[in-house]
Protein backbone atom coordinates (compact mmCIF):
# COMPACT_ATOMS: atom_id res chain seq x y z
CA UNK A 1 0.00 0.00 0.00
CA UNK A 2 1.27 3.46 -0.80
CA UNK A 3 2.37 5.66 2.04
CA UNK A 4 -0.14 8.33 1.20
CA UNK A 5 -2.93 5.77 1.60
CA UNK A 6 -1.71 4.74 5.03
CA UNK A 7 -1.61 8.35 6.16
CA UNK A 8 -5.17 8.75 4.95
CA UNK A 9 -6.29 5.55 6.70
CA UNK A 10 -4.57 6.57 9.92
CA UNK A 11 -6.32 9.90 9.82
CA UNK A 12 -9.71 8.24 9.31
CA UNK A 13 -8.90 5.77 12.07
CA UNK A 14 -8.03 8.50 14.57
CA UNK A 15 -11.16 10.38 13.58
CA UNK A 16 -13.26 7.34 14.41
CA UNK A 17 -11.51 7.02 17.78
CA UNK A 18 -12.04 10.70 18.52
CA UNK A 19 -15.73 10.29 17.79
CA UNK A 20 -15.82 7.30 20.22
CA UNK A 21 -16.68 4.87 17.45
CA UNK A 22 -15.49 1.41 18.45
CA UNK A 23 -12.93 -0.40 16.36
CA UNK A 24 -13.98 -3.94 15.37
CA UNK A 25 -11.78 -6.90 14.36
CA UNK A 26 -11.93 -6.57 10.60
CA UNK A 27 -11.55 -2.78 10.53
CA UNK A 28 -8.33 -1.29 9.29
CA UNK A 29 -6.07 -0.34 12.19
CA UNK A 30 -2.46 0.83 12.46
CA UNK A 31 0.00 -1.98 13.12
CA UNK A 32 1.16 -0.31 16.30
CA UNK A 33 -2.42 -0.16 17.60
CA UNK A 34 -2.85 -3.87 16.91
CA UNK A 35 0.49 -4.70 18.54
CA UNK A 36 -0.21 -2.58 21.61
CA UNK A 37 -3.57 -4.25 22.05
CA UNK A 38 -2.24 -7.76 21.59
CA UNK A 39 0.46 -7.06 24.15
CA UNK A 40 -1.95 -5.54 26.64
CA UNK A 41 -4.80 -8.02 26.22
CA UNK A 42 -2.59 -11.08 26.37
CA UNK A 43 -0.73 -9.71 29.41
CA UNK A 44 -4.10 -9.17 30.97
CA UNK A 45 -5.17 -12.72 30.08
CA UNK A 46 -1.95 -14.16 31.51
CA UNK A 47 -2.51 -12.17 34.70
CA UNK A 48 -5.92 -13.73 35.14
CA UNK A 49 -4.59 -17.23 34.62
CA UNK A 50 -1.40 -16.89 36.67
CA UNK A 51 -3.55 -15.08 39.21
CA UNK A 52 -5.37 -18.37 39.85
CA UNK A 53 -2.28 -19.82 41.48
CA UNK A 54 -1.73 -17.72 44.62
CA UNK A 55 -5.37 -18.13 45.61
CA UNK A 56 -5.55 -21.69 44.36
CA UNK A 57 -2.86 -22.29 46.95
CA UNK A 58 -5.48 -22.01 49.73
CA UNK A 59 -8.53 -23.73 48.24
CA UNK A 60 -7.69 -27.09 49.80
CA UNK A 61 -7.05 -25.41 53.17
CA UNK A 62 -10.04 -23.08 53.29
CA UNK A 63 -11.32 -23.00 56.89
CA UNK A 64 -14.95 -23.96 56.23
CA UNK A 65 -17.28 -25.23 53.51
CA UNK A 66 -18.68 -21.85 52.60
CA UNK A 67 -15.25 -20.25 52.21
CA UNK A 68 -14.06 -23.21 50.19
CA UNK A 69 -16.96 -22.93 47.75
CA UNK A 70 -16.63 -19.15 47.43
CA UNK A 71 -12.88 -19.31 46.82
CA UNK A 72 -13.30 -22.09 44.26
CA UNK A 73 -15.94 -20.08 42.41
CA UNK A 74 -13.73 -17.03 42.48
CA UNK A 75 -10.62 -18.76 41.15
CA UNK A 76 -12.79 -20.41 38.52
CA UNK A 77 -13.96 -16.97 37.45
CA UNK A 78 -10.32 -15.97 36.89
CA UNK A 79 -9.98 -18.88 34.46
CA UNK A 80 -13.12 -17.65 32.70
CA UNK A 81 -11.75 -14.12 32.53
CA UNK A 82 -8.47 -15.37 31.12
CA UNK A 83 -10.48 -17.17 28.49
CA UNK A 84 -12.60 -14.13 27.53
CA UNK A 85 -9.39 -12.17 27.13
CA UNK A 86 -7.52 -14.79 25.08
CA UNK A 87 -10.63 -14.88 22.96
CA UNK A 88 -10.45 -11.07 22.50
CA UNK A 89 -6.75 -11.33 21.60
CA UNK A 90 -7.58 -14.01 19.02
CA UNK A 91 -9.78 -11.52 17.17
CA UNK A 92 -6.58 -9.57 16.50
CA UNK A 93 -4.90 -12.63 15.08
CA UNK A 94 -3.02 -13.63 18.22
CA UNK A 95 -3.22 -17.42 18.37
CA UNK A 96 -3.91 -18.56 21.93
CA UNK A 97 -1.35 -21.32 22.01
CA UNK A 98 1.38 -19.03 20.71
CA UNK A 99 0.41 -16.39 23.25
CA UNK A 100 0.59 -18.94 26.06
CA UNK A 101 3.93 -20.26 24.85
CA UNK A 102 5.23 -16.68 25.07
CA UNK A 103 4.19 -16.64 28.72
CA UNK A 104 5.94 -19.95 29.34
CA UNK A 105 9.14 -18.84 27.65
CA UNK A 106 9.22 -15.65 29.71
CA UNK A 107 8.73 -13.45 26.68
CA UNK A 108 5.29 -12.26 27.79
CA UNK A 109 4.66 -10.59 31.13
CA UNK A 110 1.79 -10.68 33.58
CA UNK A 111 0.86 -8.64 36.63
CA UNK A 112 3.74 -8.78 39.10
CA UNK A 113 1.46 -8.95 42.10
CA UNK A 114 1.02 -12.67 41.50
CA UNK A 115 4.71 -13.26 42.10
CA UNK A 116 4.15 -12.67 45.80
CA UNK A 117 3.39 -15.71 47.96
CA UNK A 118 0.13 -16.28 49.83
CA UNK A 119 1.27 -17.26 53.32
CA UNK A 120 -1.86 -17.34 55.42
CA UNK A 121 -5.62 -17.54 55.09
CA UNK A 122 -5.76 -13.77 55.60
CA UNK A 123 -3.95 -13.41 52.30
CA UNK A 124 -7.16 -14.59 50.63
CA UNK A 125 -8.82 -11.58 52.19
CA UNK A 126 -5.99 -9.21 51.24
CA UNK A 127 -5.82 -10.47 47.67
CA UNK A 128 -9.57 -10.26 47.11
CA UNK A 129 -9.88 -6.85 48.71
CA UNK A 130 -6.70 -5.11 47.54
CA UNK A 131 -5.60 -6.94 44.42
CA UNK A 132 -9.07 -7.34 42.96
CA UNK A 133 -9.87 -3.84 44.16
CA UNK A 134 -6.90 -2.44 42.25
CA UNK A 135 -7.75 -4.60 39.24
CA UNK A 136 -11.30 -3.24 39.19
CA UNK A 137 -9.95 0.35 39.27
CA UNK A 138 -7.92 -0.54 36.21
CA UNK A 139 -10.67 -2.45 34.46
CA UNK A 140 -13.73 -0.27 34.80
CA UNK A 141 -12.34 2.38 32.40
CA UNK A 142 -11.34 -0.43 30.03
CA UNK A 143 -15.04 -1.18 29.50
CA UNK A 144 -14.96 1.96 27.33
CA UNK A 145 -11.76 1.00 25.52
CA UNK A 146 -11.76 1.79 21.80
CA UNK A 147 -11.36 -1.83 20.73
CA UNK A 148 -14.79 -3.50 20.73
CA UNK A 149 -13.98 -7.09 21.68
CA UNK A 150 -11.70 -5.98 24.53
CA UNK A 151 -14.28 -3.53 25.84
CA UNK A 152 -17.01 -6.20 25.69
CA UNK A 153 -14.82 -8.75 27.47
CA UNK A 154 -14.15 -6.19 30.19
CA UNK A 155 -17.85 -5.50 30.67
CA UNK A 156 -18.34 -9.19 31.35
CA UNK A 157 -15.29 -9.38 33.61
CA UNK A 158 -16.28 -6.32 35.65
CA UNK A 159 -19.81 -7.64 36.12
CA UNK A 160 -18.45 -10.90 37.49
CA UNK A 161 -15.69 -9.37 39.56
CA UNK A 162 -17.93 -7.31 41.74
CA UNK A 163 -18.26 -10.25 44.14
CA UNK A 164 -14.52 -10.88 44.26
CA UNK A 165 -13.56 -7.76 46.10
CA UNK A 166 -16.50 -8.11 48.47
CA UNK A 167 -15.64 -11.65 49.45
CA UNK A 168 -12.07 -10.53 50.16
CA UNK A 169 -13.21 -7.63 52.30
CA UNK A 170 -15.63 -9.93 54.10
CA UNK A 171 -12.77 -12.30 54.98
CA UNK A 172 -10.73 -9.37 56.28
CA UNK A 173 -13.64 -7.92 58.24
CA UNK A 174 -14.25 -11.24 59.91
CA UNK A 175 -10.59 -11.62 60.84
CA UNK A 176 -10.21 -8.03 62.01
CA UNK A 177 -13.10 -8.51 64.42
CA UNK A 178 -11.92 -11.94 65.55
CA UNK A 179 -9.38 -13.22 68.08
CA UNK A 180 -5.98 -11.62 68.53
CA UNK A 181 -4.41 -14.34 66.40
CA UNK A 182 -6.85 -13.52 63.62
CA UNK A 183 -6.30 -9.76 63.88
CA UNK A 184 -2.57 -10.28 63.73
CA UNK A 185 -3.00 -12.49 60.67
CA UNK A 186 -5.09 -9.83 58.97
CA UNK A 187 -2.67 -6.99 59.70
CA UNK A 188 0.28 -9.07 58.55
CA UNK A 189 -1.41 -9.86 55.23
CA UNK A 190 -2.36 -6.21 54.80
CA UNK A 191 1.23 -5.13 55.47
CA UNK A 192 2.57 -7.50 52.85
CA UNK A 193 0.03 -6.69 50.12
CA UNK A 194 -0.47 -2.94 50.52
CA UNK A 195 2.64 -1.79 48.65
CA UNK A 196 2.57 -4.43 45.93
CA UNK A 197 -1.09 -3.47 45.36
CA UNK A 198 -0.05 0.16 44.80
CA UNK A 199 2.58 -1.04 42.35
CA UNK A 200 -0.11 -2.80 40.33
CA UNK A 201 -0.95 0.47 38.58
CA UNK A 202 2.48 0.46 36.99
CA UNK A 203 5.33 2.95 36.98
CA UNK A 204 4.58 6.55 37.77
CA UNK A 205 3.45 8.65 34.81
CA UNK A 206 6.86 10.26 34.36
CA UNK A 207 8.40 6.82 33.73
CA UNK A 208 5.61 5.12 31.82
CA UNK A 209 6.53 4.55 28.21
CA UNK A 210 3.14 3.53 26.82
CA UNK A 211 0.70 5.88 28.48
CA UNK A 212 0.56 8.82 26.07
CA UNK A 213 -0.09 6.93 22.86
CA UNK A 214 -2.53 4.55 24.58
CA UNK A 215 -4.53 7.50 25.87
CA UNK A 216 -4.71 8.97 22.37
CA UNK A 217 -5.99 5.66 21.07
CA UNK A 218 -8.42 5.42 23.98
CA UNK A 219 -7.05 2.06 24.99
CA UNK A 220 -6.29 3.73 28.26
CA UNK A 221 -8.52 6.34 29.85
CA UNK A 222 -6.58 7.33 32.98
CA UNK A 223 -2.89 7.55 33.78
CA UNK A 224 -1.23 5.15 36.22
CA UNK A 225 -0.90 7.80 38.91
CA UNK A 226 -4.52 8.90 38.59
CA UNK A 227 -5.72 5.34 39.08
CA UNK A 228 -3.34 4.77 41.98
CA UNK A 229 -4.65 7.89 43.70
CA UNK A 230 -8.24 6.73 43.24
CA UNK A 231 -7.34 3.38 44.77
CA UNK A 232 -5.63 4.88 47.82
CA UNK A 233 -8.50 7.27 48.42
CA UNK A 234 -11.04 4.46 48.20
CA UNK A 235 -9.13 1.92 50.29
CA UNK A 236 -7.82 3.92 53.26
CA UNK A 237 -11.26 4.55 54.76
CA UNK A 238 -12.16 0.87 54.29
CA UNK A 239 -9.06 -0.20 56.21
CA UNK A 240 -9.80 2.31 58.97
CA UNK A 241 -13.36 1.09 59.22
CA UNK A 242 -12.28 -2.43 60.11
CA UNK A 243 -9.41 -1.26 62.31
CA UNK A 244 -6.38 -2.10 60.18
CA UNK A 245 -3.34 0.18 60.12
CA UNK A 246 -1.98 1.37 56.76
CA UNK A 247 1.70 0.42 56.68
CA UNK A 248 2.76 3.90 55.56
CA UNK A 249 3.94 6.51 58.05
CA UNK A 250 3.78 9.25 55.42
CA UNK A 251 0.14 8.73 54.64
CA UNK A 252 -1.94 11.83 55.36
CA UNK A 253 -5.00 13.61 54.03
CA UNK A 254 -4.22 16.51 51.73
CA UNK A 255 -7.00 19.06 51.95
CA UNK A 256 -5.88 20.92 48.84
CA UNK A 257 -6.08 17.96 46.46
CA UNK A 258 -8.82 16.30 48.49
CA UNK A 259 -6.95 13.05 48.48
CA UNK A 260 -4.30 11.18 50.44
CA UNK A 261 -0.58 11.83 50.13
CA UNK A 262 1.28 8.56 50.42
CA UNK A 263 4.89 7.54 50.93
CA UNK A 264 7.45 6.71 48.27
CA UNK A 265 6.94 3.46 46.42
CA UNK A 266 9.94 1.16 46.28
CA UNK A 267 10.33 1.05 42.51
CA UNK A 268 13.52 -0.96 42.85
CA UNK A 269 11.50 -3.80 44.25
CA UNK A 270 8.94 -3.36 41.48
CA UNK A 271 11.52 -3.65 38.70
CA UNK A 272 13.20 -6.59 40.40
CA UNK A 273 9.92 -8.48 40.52
CA UNK A 274 9.07 -7.56 36.92
CA UNK A 275 12.53 -8.72 35.92
CA UNK A 276 12.06 -12.18 37.44
CA UNK A 277 13.32 -11.78 41.00
CA UNK A 278 9.99 -11.84 42.78
CA UNK A 279 9.56 -14.51 45.45
CA UNK A 280 7.43 -16.75 43.20
CA UNK A 281 8.12 -15.84 39.55
CA UNK A 282 9.68 -19.18 38.79
CA UNK A 283 7.05 -21.21 40.64
CA UNK A 284 4.17 -19.47 38.87
CA UNK A 285 5.47 -19.93 35.36
CA UNK A 286 6.65 -23.47 36.14
CA UNK A 287 3.16 -24.38 37.36
CA UNK A 288 1.55 -23.06 34.17
CA UNK A 289 4.10 -24.78 31.97
CA UNK A 290 3.63 -28.04 33.83
CA UNK A 291 -0.14 -27.86 33.41
CA UNK A 292 0.29 -27.53 29.67
CA UNK A 293 2.92 -30.25 29.39
CA UNK A 294 0.93 -32.68 31.56
CA UNK A 295 -2.14 -31.97 29.46
CA UNK A 296 -0.50 -32.31 26.07
CA UNK A 297 -1.47 -35.96 25.63
CA UNK A 298 -5.04 -35.15 26.63
CA UNK A 299 -5.35 -32.36 24.09
CA UNK A 300 -3.88 -34.61 21.40
CA UNK A 301 -6.18 -37.49 22.30
CA UNK A 302 -9.29 -35.34 22.05
CA UNK A 303 -8.19 -34.05 18.67
CA UNK A 304 -7.39 -37.54 17.40
CA UNK A 305 -10.78 -38.74 18.61
CA UNK A 306 -12.60 -35.86 16.91
CA UNK A 307 -10.82 -36.59 13.64
CA UNK A 308 -11.66 -40.29 13.84
CA UNK A 309 -15.32 -39.53 14.47
CA UNK A 310 -15.64 -37.02 11.66
CA UNK A 311 -13.92 -39.47 9.31
CA UNK A 312 -16.48 -42.11 10.33
CA UNK A 313 -19.34 -39.70 9.73
CA UNK A 314 -18.23 -38.71 6.27
CA UNK A 315 -17.41 -42.31 5.32
Amino acid sequence: MMEIDIKELEKKFQLKIDKDIRIEPNDWMPDAYRKTLIRQISQHAHSEVVGMLPEGNWITRAPNLRRKAVLLAKVQDEAGHGLYLYSAAETLGADREQTIDDLHSGKAKYSSIFNYPTLSWADMGAVGWLVDGAAIMNQVPLCRCSYGPYARAMVRVCKEESFHQRQGFEIMTKLASGTSAQKEMAQDAFNRFWWPALMMFGPSDADSSHTEQSMRWKIKRHTNDELRQMFVDATVPQAELIGLTIPDQDLKWNTVKEGYDYGAINWDEFWQVVGGNGPCNKERVDARRKAKEDGKWVVEAAMAFAQKRSAKKSA
Binding site: K68, V75, A287
Partner: protein
Protein backbone atom coordinates in the same frame (compact mmCIF):
# COMPACT_ATOMS: atom_id res chain seq x y z
CA UNK B 1 -28.84 -49.61 65.87
CA UNK B 2 -31.77 -47.20 65.63
CA UNK B 3 -33.16 -45.83 62.39
CA UNK B 4 -31.79 -42.43 63.30
CA UNK B 5 -28.28 -43.81 63.85
CA UNK B 6 -28.45 -45.69 60.60
CA UNK B 7 -29.53 -42.62 58.66
CA UNK B 8 -26.75 -40.62 60.29
CA UNK B 9 -24.22 -43.20 59.11
CA UNK B 10 -25.67 -43.30 55.63
CA UNK B 11 -25.62 -39.51 55.26
CA UNK B 12 -21.99 -39.51 56.34
CA UNK B 13 -21.16 -41.97 53.59
CA UNK B 14 -22.82 -39.86 50.95
CA UNK B 15 -21.62 -36.57 52.38
CA UNK B 16 -18.06 -37.81 52.73
CA UNK B 17 -18.01 -39.21 49.19
CA UNK B 18 -18.99 -35.75 47.95
CA UNK B 19 -16.67 -33.90 50.28
CA UNK B 20 -13.55 -35.94 49.66
CA UNK B 21 -14.02 -36.14 45.90
CA UNK B 22 -14.76 -32.41 45.81
CA UNK B 23 -11.62 -31.77 47.83
CA UNK B 24 -9.54 -33.89 45.46
CA UNK B 25 -10.87 -32.07 42.39
CA UNK B 26 -10.30 -28.71 44.03
CA UNK B 27 -6.58 -29.49 44.13
CA UNK B 28 -6.62 -29.24 40.34
CA UNK B 29 -8.04 -25.74 40.10
CA UNK B 30 -5.49 -23.72 38.14
CA UNK B 31 -3.67 -26.80 36.85
CA UNK B 32 -6.03 -28.24 34.23
CA UNK B 33 -4.79 -29.42 30.82
CA UNK B 34 -6.55 -26.51 29.11
CA UNK B 35 -8.50 -23.55 30.51
CA UNK B 36 -11.89 -24.79 29.38
CA UNK B 37 -11.36 -28.09 31.19
CA UNK B 38 -10.05 -26.33 34.26
CA UNK B 39 -13.37 -24.51 34.48
CA UNK B 40 -15.37 -27.71 33.95
CA UNK B 41 -13.48 -29.65 36.64
CA UNK B 42 -13.92 -26.80 39.08
CA UNK B 43 -17.66 -26.81 38.37
CA UNK B 44 -17.83 -30.47 39.34
CA UNK B 45 -15.82 -29.79 42.47
CA UNK B 46 -18.17 -26.94 43.40
CA UNK B 47 -21.23 -29.13 42.89
CA UNK B 48 -19.77 -31.84 45.12
CA UNK B 49 -18.86 -29.42 47.90
CA UNK B 50 -22.41 -28.07 47.67
CA UNK B 51 -23.81 -31.59 48.01
CA UNK B 52 -21.53 -32.29 50.96
CA UNK B 53 -22.76 -29.11 52.62
CA UNK B 54 -26.38 -30.27 52.47
CA UNK B 55 -25.75 -33.90 53.33
CA UNK B 56 -23.49 -33.18 56.29
CA UNK B 57 -25.86 -30.53 57.55
CA UNK B 58 -28.61 -33.14 57.68
CA UNK B 59 -26.26 -35.70 59.23
CA UNK B 60 -25.18 -33.19 61.88
CA UNK B 61 -28.76 -32.76 63.02
CA UNK B 62 -29.08 -36.52 63.55
CA UNK B 63 -25.82 -36.93 65.48
CA UNK B 64 -25.97 -37.90 69.17
CA UNK B 65 -24.81 -34.42 70.02
CA UNK B 66 -25.92 -32.19 67.15
CA UNK B 67 -23.06 -30.87 65.04
CA UNK B 68 -22.70 -28.38 62.22
CA UNK B 69 -21.70 -29.50 58.76
CA UNK B 70 -18.38 -27.70 59.22
CA UNK B 71 -17.68 -29.59 62.43
CA UNK B 72 -18.36 -32.85 60.66
CA UNK B 73 -16.31 -31.89 57.61
CA UNK B 74 -13.29 -30.53 59.42
CA UNK B 75 -13.10 -31.98 62.89
CA UNK B 76 -13.56 -35.72 62.74
CA UNK B 77 -10.67 -38.14 63.06
CA UNK B 78 -9.80 -40.21 60.02
CA UNK B 79 -11.52 -43.34 61.31
CA UNK B 80 -14.84 -41.54 61.42
CA UNK B 81 -14.92 -40.62 57.73
CA UNK B 82 -17.11 -43.04 55.79
CA UNK B 83 -16.25 -42.23 52.17
CA UNK B 84 -15.35 -45.03 49.78
CA UNK B 85 -11.66 -45.63 49.13
CA UNK B 86 -12.18 -44.75 45.47
CA UNK B 87 -12.82 -41.05 46.02
CA UNK B 88 -9.77 -40.45 48.22
CA UNK B 89 -7.35 -41.82 45.61
CA UNK B 90 -4.93 -39.15 44.36
CA UNK B 91 -5.69 -37.25 41.16
CA UNK B 92 -2.83 -38.89 39.26
CA UNK B 93 -2.89 -37.93 35.60
CA UNK B 94 -5.96 -36.57 33.82
CA UNK B 95 -6.98 -40.08 32.81
CA UNK B 96 -6.90 -41.23 36.45
CA UNK B 97 -8.97 -38.22 37.49
CA UNK B 98 -11.62 -38.80 34.82
CA UNK B 99 -11.75 -42.56 35.37
CA UNK B 100 -12.21 -42.11 39.14
CA UNK B 101 -14.95 -39.60 38.37
CA UNK B 102 -16.63 -41.87 35.86
CA UNK B 103 -16.69 -44.94 38.11
CA UNK B 104 -18.19 -42.79 40.85
CA UNK B 105 -20.71 -40.90 38.70
CA UNK B 106 -21.97 -44.13 37.16
CA UNK B 107 -22.88 -45.26 40.70
CA UNK B 108 -24.06 -41.93 42.04
CA UNK B 109 -26.55 -41.23 39.27
CA UNK B 110 -28.79 -44.31 39.73
CA UNK B 111 -28.44 -43.96 43.49
CA UNK B 112 -29.77 -40.41 43.38
CA UNK B 113 -32.51 -41.36 40.93
CA UNK B 114 -33.80 -43.96 43.37
CA UNK B 115 -33.31 -41.77 46.41
CA UNK B 116 -35.79 -39.34 44.88
CA UNK B 117 -38.41 -41.96 45.78
CA UNK B 118 -37.21 -42.13 49.39
CA UNK B 119 -39.83 -41.87 52.11
CA UNK B 120 -37.42 -39.45 53.75
CA UNK B 121 -38.53 -36.26 52.00
CA UNK B 122 -35.48 -34.24 52.96
CA UNK B 123 -33.09 -36.81 51.53
CA UNK B 124 -35.28 -37.07 48.43
CA UNK B 125 -35.04 -33.31 48.02
CA UNK B 126 -31.25 -33.30 48.27
CA UNK B 127 -31.14 -36.17 45.78
CA UNK B 128 -33.28 -34.28 43.30
CA UNK B 129 -30.95 -31.29 43.31
CA UNK B 130 -27.82 -33.43 43.22
CA UNK B 131 -29.14 -35.56 40.39
CA UNK B 132 -29.26 -32.64 37.96
CA UNK B 133 -25.60 -31.98 38.69
CA UNK B 134 -24.56 -35.60 38.64
CA UNK B 135 -26.12 -36.28 35.25
CA UNK B 136 -23.88 -33.58 33.88
CA UNK B 137 -20.83 -34.98 35.69
CA UNK B 138 -21.47 -38.42 34.27
CA UNK B 139 -21.79 -37.05 30.76
CA UNK B 140 -18.56 -35.15 31.20
CA UNK B 141 -16.57 -38.02 32.67
CA UNK B 142 -17.91 -40.65 30.27
CA UNK B 143 -17.22 -38.45 27.25
CA UNK B 144 -13.66 -38.04 28.43
CA UNK B 145 -13.20 -41.75 29.07
CA UNK B 146 -14.40 -42.40 25.53
CA UNK B 147 -12.18 -39.69 24.03
CA UNK B 148 -9.11 -40.91 25.86
CA UNK B 149 -9.84 -44.59 25.25
CA UNK B 150 -10.47 -44.08 21.55
CA UNK B 151 -8.01 -41.20 21.11
CA UNK B 152 -4.34 -41.86 20.55
CA UNK B 153 -2.40 -45.00 21.38
CA UNK B 154 -0.78 -43.17 24.25
CA UNK B 155 -4.09 -41.99 25.72
CA UNK B 156 -5.61 -45.44 25.29
CA UNK B 157 -2.88 -47.18 27.25
CA UNK B 158 -2.85 -44.46 29.89
CA UNK B 159 -6.56 -44.56 30.59
CA UNK B 160 -6.60 -48.36 30.45
CA UNK B 161 -3.95 -48.27 33.19
CA UNK B 162 -6.16 -45.87 35.15
CA UNK B 163 -9.00 -48.36 34.90
CA UNK B 164 -6.78 -51.25 36.04
CA UNK B 165 -5.72 -49.42 39.17
CA UNK B 166 -9.07 -47.84 40.08
CA UNK B 167 -11.49 -50.63 39.21
CA UNK B 168 -10.47 -52.54 42.34
CA UNK B 169 -11.92 -49.71 44.45
CA UNK B 170 -15.22 -49.43 42.62
CA UNK B 171 -17.01 -52.42 44.15
CA UNK B 172 -16.88 -50.88 47.58
CA UNK B 173 -19.49 -48.39 46.36
CA UNK B 174 -21.99 -51.26 46.72
CA UNK B 175 -20.96 -52.10 50.27
CA UNK B 176 -23.85 -52.97 52.57
CA UNK B 177 -24.16 -53.63 56.26
CA UNK B 178 -26.69 -53.24 59.08
CA UNK B 179 -27.15 -49.57 58.17
CA UNK B 180 -28.49 -50.47 54.76
CA UNK B 181 -30.67 -53.24 56.09
CA UNK B 182 -32.47 -50.89 58.46
CA UNK B 183 -32.89 -48.07 55.94
CA UNK B 184 -33.92 -50.39 53.16
CA UNK B 185 -36.71 -51.84 55.31
CA UNK B 186 -37.90 -48.32 56.06
CA UNK B 187 -38.04 -47.42 52.38
CA UNK B 188 -35.41 -44.72 52.84
CA UNK B 189 -32.73 -46.07 50.52
CA UNK B 190 -32.57 -48.45 47.53
CA UNK B 191 -30.81 -51.82 47.73
CA UNK B 192 -27.25 -51.93 46.42
CA UNK B 193 -28.20 -54.95 44.36
CA UNK B 194 -30.63 -52.83 42.34
CA UNK B 195 -27.93 -50.24 41.68
CA UNK B 196 -25.12 -52.57 40.71
CA UNK B 197 -26.59 -53.76 37.39
CA UNK B 198 -27.26 -50.15 36.38
CA UNK B 199 -23.68 -49.21 37.21
CA UNK B 200 -22.36 -52.24 35.37
CA UNK B 201 -24.43 -51.41 32.31
CA UNK B 202 -23.12 -47.84 32.12
CA UNK B 203 -19.55 -48.96 32.68
CA UNK B 204 -19.74 -51.70 30.06
CA UNK B 205 -21.31 -49.43 27.46
CA UNK B 206 -18.87 -46.59 27.96
CA UNK B 207 -15.82 -48.83 28.03
CA UNK B 208 -16.98 -50.44 24.84
CA UNK B 209 -17.30 -47.09 23.12
CA UNK B 210 -13.90 -46.25 24.51
CA UNK B 211 -12.50 -49.46 22.96
CA UNK B 212 -11.32 -50.48 26.41
CA UNK B 213 -11.55 -53.78 28.24
CA UNK B 214 -12.55 -54.63 31.79
CA UNK B 215 -9.60 -55.54 34.01
CA UNK B 216 -8.92 -59.24 34.55
CA UNK B 217 -7.96 -58.57 38.13
CA UNK B 218 -11.13 -59.06 40.13
CA UNK B 219 -9.74 -58.06 43.49
CA UNK B 220 -12.05 -55.82 45.51
CA UNK B 221 -10.63 -53.41 48.01
CA UNK B 222 -12.85 -52.18 50.79
CA UNK B 223 -12.53 -50.42 54.12
CA UNK B 224 -13.40 -46.77 53.59
CA UNK B 225 -17.06 -47.24 54.47
CA UNK B 226 -15.94 -48.69 57.82
CA UNK B 227 -13.31 -46.03 58.47
CA UNK B 228 -10.26 -48.01 57.29
CA UNK B 229 -8.75 -45.69 54.71
CA UNK B 230 -5.75 -45.74 52.43
CA UNK B 231 -2.47 -43.98 53.29
CA UNK B 232 -3.53 -41.05 51.14
CA UNK B 233 -6.40 -40.10 53.40
CA UNK B 234 -4.35 -38.79 56.32
CA UNK B 235 -2.55 -36.28 54.14
CA UNK B 236 -5.75 -35.13 52.51
CA UNK B 237 -7.27 -34.52 55.93
CA UNK B 238 -4.15 -32.85 57.30
CA UNK B 239 -4.42 -30.31 54.52
CA UNK B 240 -8.18 -29.91 54.63
CA UNK B 241 -8.31 -29.61 58.42
CA UNK B 242 -5.23 -27.41 58.77
CA UNK B 243 -7.02 -24.18 59.67
CA UNK B 244 -9.56 -25.73 62.04
CA UNK B 245 -6.86 -27.70 63.84
CA UNK B 246 -4.34 -24.87 64.06
CA UNK B 247 -6.84 -22.23 65.17
CA UNK B 248 -9.52 -24.10 67.12
CA UNK B 249 -12.89 -22.55 67.92
CA UNK B 250 -12.67 -19.52 65.68
CA UNK B 251 -15.08 -18.04 63.18
CA UNK B 252 -13.95 -17.52 59.62
Amino acid sequence: MTKKEALYQYLLRMGDDSLILGQRLSELCGHGPILEEDIATTNISLDLIGQATLLLEYAGELADEPKTNDELAFLRIEKHYANALLVEQPNGNFGDTMMRQFLFDAYRKPLLEQLMQSVDKRLAGIAEKALKETKYHLRHSSEWVIRLGDGTQESHSKVQASLESLYRYAHELFFENEVDEILLNEGIIPAAKTLFPLWEKTVTEVLEMATMSLPKNNWKFQGGREGRHSEHMGFLLAEMQYMQRTYPNMEW
